[in-house]
Chain length 382, copies 4
């Protein structure tokens, strides 16, 4: 393909955190051109973002439906190829359905939808349209996460017995929802769905757990809590896990762990070794064995393999971070679009799909249900 | 008191790890003289240890009953004051009962007994005899653990909401019980009781959790597993916790976390801050707040208070470790004996007591029962 | 300004590390459009890079002189505004001179030139043309470096007494210059100038030292070594420093410190406190005091000020890294160009200038001279 | 030998830090009995310490000469075997000479003497008497220091090229000498000799450097400073080093590095690998290679050899620290005495000797001389 992929965005208006991240991620590897967007339901705000991005006014919409319609009226050589959805959770479903119906590939923030019914309908729509759908579970795209997944798949740590995934944050320890827009929609059932903490970050933890280990959670036992007075959704949750190979685990997510930043961390122990990865030190992967010294694998250094190298931009010791990992998702999505346009049937995409999205939403529903139940184990099937 | 406390030991024969630790701990602060012991049920082995320690042969016994009897025949000016019990779990009860009946103060390794019935009988005996009984939950005697406890008691982190206590080890990931005496008795129900991992290290985690937080566990939900083929007792366990103030928690202990050494760690999050302490870096206590930079408190440095200073021996940056913390338990026990001998009624002892021991054994029974149950929550009352 | 800045690049052909970094850095904040370049002296290679970047063939040159000439023939509305120089050291001077003579703003990799004479000539040229010149001492653009500089300027650690700057790498411990293009030009006097290690990374260390502390080095005593057989330039160097306020320091750079990645680190001790920053953990700044616990300041967290916030893109715990810091240099350079175009006279630029470049080259000459001298102290004046 | 070694102590009165450390170190492994001492020149204070230690009054002296005389009057079966010297630097010489003349083995704190003349006289006396003399350079007795030395000796990191030894402390950043006895004597030329910082901790750094590497310093270039007003001795010093095999190095010691505790650290880089050890995390040794992941060797874990195991007391993950390392020195000294008493001619002692003491004092004199000189390199011969 001799041009960049043309992208439109829904959401990402003034003050949006994740919209700006998606734009940087799309830019970093020079695969996408952001051509336009419905950045806000306010026309002024949408135009303001467009101006910042040097976009023509006529590609700045205040309404995703209009964007889809107008873009489809443009000649193919100008029309956007794909739509990036960066709005609050409760709107993902209808925007994604409309985008797919409009014939556009979709890259969507997580959680995919606010209930399983929507998720399955969206899954069916993706299948029906044959379009490409990517969910931005960005943490799986860190090079050393790929390294961990590859080592586990190769049997480097043997059969997995135990997995501990933790995701503590502290920023919602106080009732800041009045002042903070970011906090506001997350604790609001109308916008966030049935869960705050588990929906926002617990689903990342679930996705990372299954991604790295290659295992499936089969049973869980959850205890969710709303600690801050006035909240109806959980701001903390602890979950016991059982996996399809007999492994056991603990997963917890918390937004009231005062003083924690974004401390997602996973430890996987097998019969032959243990691996540890922490998002706040993403360039490092720790390998432990009973019969060797601890090894500290590093992105770009000896002992780290091709999977990590394929998505690295810099030599070891030149830190890559969150934006780079996020860009890896965009680049993988972009490569899939290019392969499609170039009729490359051999291309194997590597990014979180609509199926991951369904599983994530199912997980959120399962932990909420388990937390309300007196039964110990809830089967995680769907 | 113008002399050292005279101590006899039961257990601690050749190859014993914990016996040697108890002896170093007793020596470090020069409060105790180890006068004799029933170090082994083999007379030769008991004499061999005695010779290493330059003890007279006639104070080296092959039998704790004989030791208690003979020592009681000695004049008070020569007789031991207390007995240290460092044998495998299943023998603690009978030795401790006999020692107390013989009129000796007791310092005993943990877990205190192998069932709750024994534990309560021992508790009653301690009350009846009025003698001093100390349980060596050594991890509570690290200076920075005391610091954490003091800060929490002072309200420094506000009301506690969440506690995460983890204790992974890797040394039992393989079936080494054939070769290793240390492993052998721990996985043997006849010697270890109803639990391996939870009894050996989970009870340390429980004790540390309640000690630091000042909270009581009221409900728990456990999932214990025996991963290594051939084992009947757990070598791994995950537990959800609920506390008397409404806080929630996770506690896990594992001996199959391949590559982990002795990684006991606790994190406590309150409304105003979070504290983290890790046994493998025991000189450091991390304080997190949402409105301040992370603080790294250090033993001996500014910001660390009198509670830690009282049990420190060295300036900051001169690492103290496991033996020193263990010695703090001995010294606290010794001070209580001295106060008794000196008729000092104002002395307030600070060491784990028989009541902690009962609670520890109750915890082990509770997690084993919970793990077998289909009910989600087991009330932790006894 | 209602458009992006148009940029041309010299260097950055196939296999170039730093050229790709400059391009990502220029893209990240969407301030620049890379319009063309003389990416390689091979026309094929230059076109190949152009094709990767979707540039028209007629803007891909094989020769910087042609680029400057042709771009000047274009109407102002199409012409590039600035030139990015990412070639080996020995060519910086002539390219930068030509670019300035051509009327283009310049952003140039370091070290600026291969001798002080060139550096001063370039400094004069910048002054004469009034054009904007930026040197990519990227390490000064990490948010927590700005935080450190701001704290020191505000007197937070008192009067500075001691500075320790270290920059160990290990990648040149073996004679890899035959296989590695990156190694090849660095150890070649014809391309690198009079120094390998001190020119390549020692000058970063010097720049960072003076930038953070606000002090000037006044005397130095150096010991440079070529350890790997066959090299004529230094691959390691140790330097004692004296500063204008009486402070003392140590600076060392090394490329034969086997196993080290890119471990630039600075510690500054004043009468009231000490600061420590390490490039491989760039989001963290450690503050030590004698009368308080150690503080760990973090980008995006409480206690970190406006200087860091102004150049941050993400919340705390979402790691930013090398590319983001490099992008901060580009964005600062871009903002200066925009201010120039917009006739904004109040704009205060914040990036390394031609004066920093002169000082850097002078430093390299000074350490080489000192290393050869038997006199202890060499005055660092120029 | 069927008894403990009988020891007398000179110094270690009320408030002494190092005296208490020596006593704990001597006690830990149960090899020594402290029988008496001249703990203070005040008889009351000497008796007070004796009472704390349950010593008979007639073995508590106020004068080391009296102690030596009286002990020699006792029958051999009661007499002390050795003398521990823990007084301020300026008195070491005369006490050690007298102790050796009295026929006692000596263990002495460092630096050995306050000038090279004394040091050489003491060396001659040790040779003449044939008695055992041990200098407590305790940092060389950490297990992972022995591990590092063994690995280097075995060629694991190849030929050494670079050594960086740093020893920053912050406690003398303010003029606390008025209030602090510990500070007072160290900054007083009459008691400390010609150097404060280099004598107190720089000599540890020098000893550790040569011990671990097996190299000898042949040339040095020093810059010492007295930063705190009113001090005549150095409180900070930076030194360039050259070694007998051509390796280069940096050594610095500082007591005005505000906020630092006791941060002795050494990094050694060879042709095949690099090693790093830091005293504040003494259980860990880091091994870096260009062709492998970083390895973290730990006391007690796989990959750590017999040299460390021989002086370990606990399994991995059960932290040993400063007192344990100090005890290793005592135990090695004790083993040498036992071998002497038992006529064991095959015993090979492993502790710092009078020769190390001479070298340490020579180093202090050399750095002081170099710092005053305008010549760059001072030959380190003596």
């Amino acid at each position: 393909m001799k041009r960049r992929i043309r992208m439109g965005m829904v959401g990402g208006g003034p003050g949006s955190f994740i919209g700006a991240v998606h734009r940087m991620a799309a830019r970093l590897d020079s695969k996408f051109d952001l051509i336009g967007g419905a950045f806000s339901t306010s026309r002024e705000k949408s135009l303001a973002i467009g101006a910042e991005l040097f976009l023509p006014d006529n590609r700045c919409y205040s309404d995703y439906k209009t964007m889809i319609e107008r873009e489809n009226d443009l000649p193919e050589s100008e029309r956007i190829d794909c739509i990036s959805i960066v709005t609050p959770n409760h709107t993902h479903f209808e925007i994604a359905m409309a985008a797919l119906d409009g014939g556009f590939h979709v890259i969507c923030d997580k959680p995919m939808t606010i209930n399983l019914e929507q998720a399955k309908a969206l899954q069916a729509k993706v299948k029906e349209t044959g379009l490409i759908f990517c969910l931005t579970h960005n943490y799986t795209a860190y090079p050393m996460v790929k390294q961990a997944k590859a080592m586990i798949a190769a049997g480097d740590i043997g059969e997995i017995r135990k997995v501990v995934t933790e995701y503590p944050q502290g920023w919602l320890a106080d009732a800041i929802e009045g002042e903070s827009k970011q906090a506001g929609w997350r604790v609001d059932p109308a916008q966030a769905g049935i869960s705050c903490c588990m929906g926002d970050i617990g689903s990342h933890a679930e996705n990372l757990t299954e991604y790295i280990t290659g295992l499936k959670i089969t049973e869980l036992c959850a205890d969710l809590t709303s600690f801050v007075p006035g909240r109806s959704l959980d701001d903390d949750g602890n979950v016991l896990l059982r996996f399809d190979n007999g492994a056991r685990g603990v997963l917890y997510a918390s937004q009231i762990s005062t003083g924690e930043e974004n401390a997602l961390k996973i430890r996987v122990y097998g019969t032959k070794g243990g691996l540890e990865w922490a998002q706040e030190s993403p360039e490092t992967l720790i390998l432990r064995r009973n019969d060797q010294p601890k090894q500290v694998l590093r992105r770009g250094w000896a002992g780290t393999g091709v999977e990590a190298a394929a998505i690295s931009r810099l030599p070891a010791g030149h830190p890559e971070g969150f934006i780079e990992a996020f860009a890896n998702i965009y680049t993988a999505f972009g490569n899939a679009i290019i392969a499609r346009i170039d009729f490359d049937n051999k291309f194997v995409p590597d990014f979180p799909t609509v199926d991951d999205g369904v599983r994530g939403v199912a997980f959120i529903e399962a932990v909420v249900a388990s937390s309300k139940s007196n039964d110990k184990w809830l089967k995680f099937e769907y």
